[in-house]
């Protein structure tokens, strides 16, 4: 490759991902979700980040290959363990891809129940994220409050599906069980509670200086960069592009329970906070609407062991954005290929773009802001331009550094 081409690639953001020996860490920055562990090595000029390099793959397990050796139904339990936070999104994306291939239509009640659980999962994921932003900005009270509220959502999920995290609730042809008796009342109670808390948190993140100073104007992503780098989910919507799989390509019962797509033109972390809180409020509304409209009838159909030959492409809106499944069947009891593209994979390039030009103190907030889960921030290797000096900072030191840096600035 010529130098000119190389420069061109760097300009488009394609050169960001290379890593050099001085950036290798003794212990990888483990990202908790499956394929998206990230290791960022930052090139600094004083305080300012001039370049970011990332190395992913620390949590690579080889699930796509394993998916070829399992039967269709067994794969549900495998693929929902791709990610512990959006596990239901994975299982419905896979189930619906296979259902589309077979031409079976899930009963309406089953689709409604899927929508309800998917939205509950969105609430729990967004609240989890918001708590972590609170933690990384040094506002631990917010972290504890939100995680306490989140437990009530998990209680609901447990009451319906039987588990808190890996629900194993969706199956080929519907959902495994009907909703339990009396869930409507507790759902109503909890959703009203969450809505009240969300109003409070919205006011809080708008006015509380601890949050405002650390998030406004931080991690800015321009609309042009977003079009170029194709991020997904709230990250894309925060740049003003209105794109939501639930609205544009409705699945489950989203054609009847229509979400309201929120966008913002700021593209910074503060707008992401507002956007995700608005989405939580909208999810509460959608759950109540779905409970009110919940049709009678079956929630599941019998599904054959063999899936006809063909290709199927399916995507759903996971809490972090578009989750993509490609399934190919050779007409046997096993898939011949399953390809998964998780949302964070699409967002990494945008994250490296967001970090550039900011100070070291902003790194934890920006990296949390794109919602990659939290583990990736536990270790960062910092390379100082000029001296070539390298030192390690773990997440806690970096957090303290950030808090001290901003406490001097009021």
């Amino acid at each position: 490759m010529s130098e000119e081409q190389d420069r061109e690639l760097r300009k488009t953001g394609a050169g960001l991902m290379e890593y050099s020996p001085e950036g290798i860490m003794p212990f990888g920055p483990v990202h908790p979700s499956l394929k998206e562990p990230e290791y960022f090595s930052l090139l600094l000029e004083g305080e300012k980040i001039v370049d970011v390099q990332a190395r992913i793959g620390y949590v690579h397990r080889g699930i796509e290959r394993a998916g070829q050796d399992n039967t269709w139904i067994k794969n549900i339990y495998l693929f929902e363990r791709v990610c512990g936070i959006c596990s239901f999104a994975h299982s419905i994306a896979y189930s619906q891809a296979v259902e589309a291939l077979s031409g079976f239509v899930v009963p309406k009640r089953g689709r409604y129940i899927r929508t309800i659980i998917a939205e509950l999962e969105r609430i729990h994921s967004h609240l989890l994220w918001l708590g972590l932003v609170g933690h990384w900005t040094g506002f631990d009270t917010l972290f504890m409050w939100i995680w306490k509220d989140r437990e009530r959502v998990l209680d609901l999920i447990e009451a319906i599906t039987g588990n808190r995290v890996h629900k194993s609730y969706s199956t080929l042809g519907g959902v495994r069980r009907d909703l339990p008796d009396g869930i409507a009342e507790s759902m109503k109670k909890e959703m009203e509670f969450i809505q009240k808390r969300v109003d409070y948190y919205s006011e809080l993140v708008r006015t509380e200086q601890t949050i405002v100073v650390r998030t406004r104007g931080v991690g800015r992503l321009s609309q042009d960069a977003a079009r170029r780098l194709c991020p997904v989910g709230p990250l894309l919507r925060s740049t003003g592009i209105s794109r939501d799989v639930r609205v544009e390509d409705p699945y489950a019962a989203y054609d009847e329970i229509v979400p309201e797509v929120k966008t913002s033109n700021e593209g910074d972390i503060a707008s992401l906070l507002k956007l995700r809180l608005d989405e939580v409020a909208d999810s509460c509304r959608m759950i109540l609407e779905a409970m009110a409209k919940l049709p009678e009838g079956g929630y599941k159909i019998a599904f054959p062991r063999v899936v006809p030959r063909g290709d199927s492409v399916f995507h759903v809106e996971a809490p972090r954005g578009e989750l993509f499944y490609f399934v190919r069947s050779a007409g046997s009891i096993k898939p011949s290929r399953v390809k998964i593209r998780t949302p964070t994979m699409a967002n990494i390039l945008a994250a490296t773009e967001m970090l550039k030009g900011h100070t070291l103190a902003d790194v934890p907030v920006v990296l949390t802001g794109m919602d990659p889960c939290f583990g990736c921030m536990d270790r960062l290797s910092v390379v100082e331009a000029g001296s070539g000096r390298e030192w390690m900072m773990n997440g806690e030191q970096l957090r303290t550094f950030g808090i001290e840096y901003y406490s001097g600035k009021g």
Binding site: F27, P32, L34, R61, G62, G84
Partner: protein
């Protein structure tokens, strides 16, 4: 038991350790499910801090190492490094089906079958993922040698 361990300072140290269990958490190729349950165990509903359990950011400060996930090829050596950095006395807790023996990932080309093939393990907490109550139960049992409800207080 050596004489030093039976001295007053030895007994004091043992008493103090049981009441301030500092844990360090390593995600060795986990799906994140166990990790969020560890965090949930530290937040107000379950409140592990009432037993003196605290999550610390460096292995050098830790008494107990919590490991989640099937150990993959990238994480194998790194996990061993972390283990060696923890000062004695140290304990290792394997959390979740993957850490115990591979779980659903068993047979994948990039995963090891259980962390006890890499580092010695003191306690296994099964579940996919284990509930926060199970985590608390396990850790208290690890340091006291007894289930929490039978502990003499």
């Amino acid at each position: 038991m050596s004489q030093a361990a039976d001295s007053f300072s030895g007994r004091f140290r043992r008493w103090a350790r049981k009441r301030s269990i500092w844990v360090f958490h390593v995600n060795a190729a986990s799906c994140n499910g166990c990790d969020i349950e560890i965090l949930a165990a530290l937040t107000p509903r379950y409140d592990a801090e009432r037993f003196g359990v605290e999550l610390v950011p460096s292995p050098r400060h830790a008494d107990v190492l919590l490991v989640t996930g099937t150990v993959n090829a990238q994480m194998k050596d790194r996990l061993r490094d972390v283990y060696e950095q923890i000062p004695e006395p140290k304990h290792v807790v394997a959390i979740g089906a993957c850490a115990l023996g591979g779980g659903v990932m068993k047979g994948c080309y990039n995963v090891g079958h259980g962390i006890d093939k890499v580092i010695p393990v003191d306690l296994y907490i099964p579940g996919c993922p284990p509930r926060p109550e199970a985590l608390l139960f396990g850790i208290i049992k690890l340091v006291t040698g007894e289930p929490p409800d039978r502990r003499e207080e």
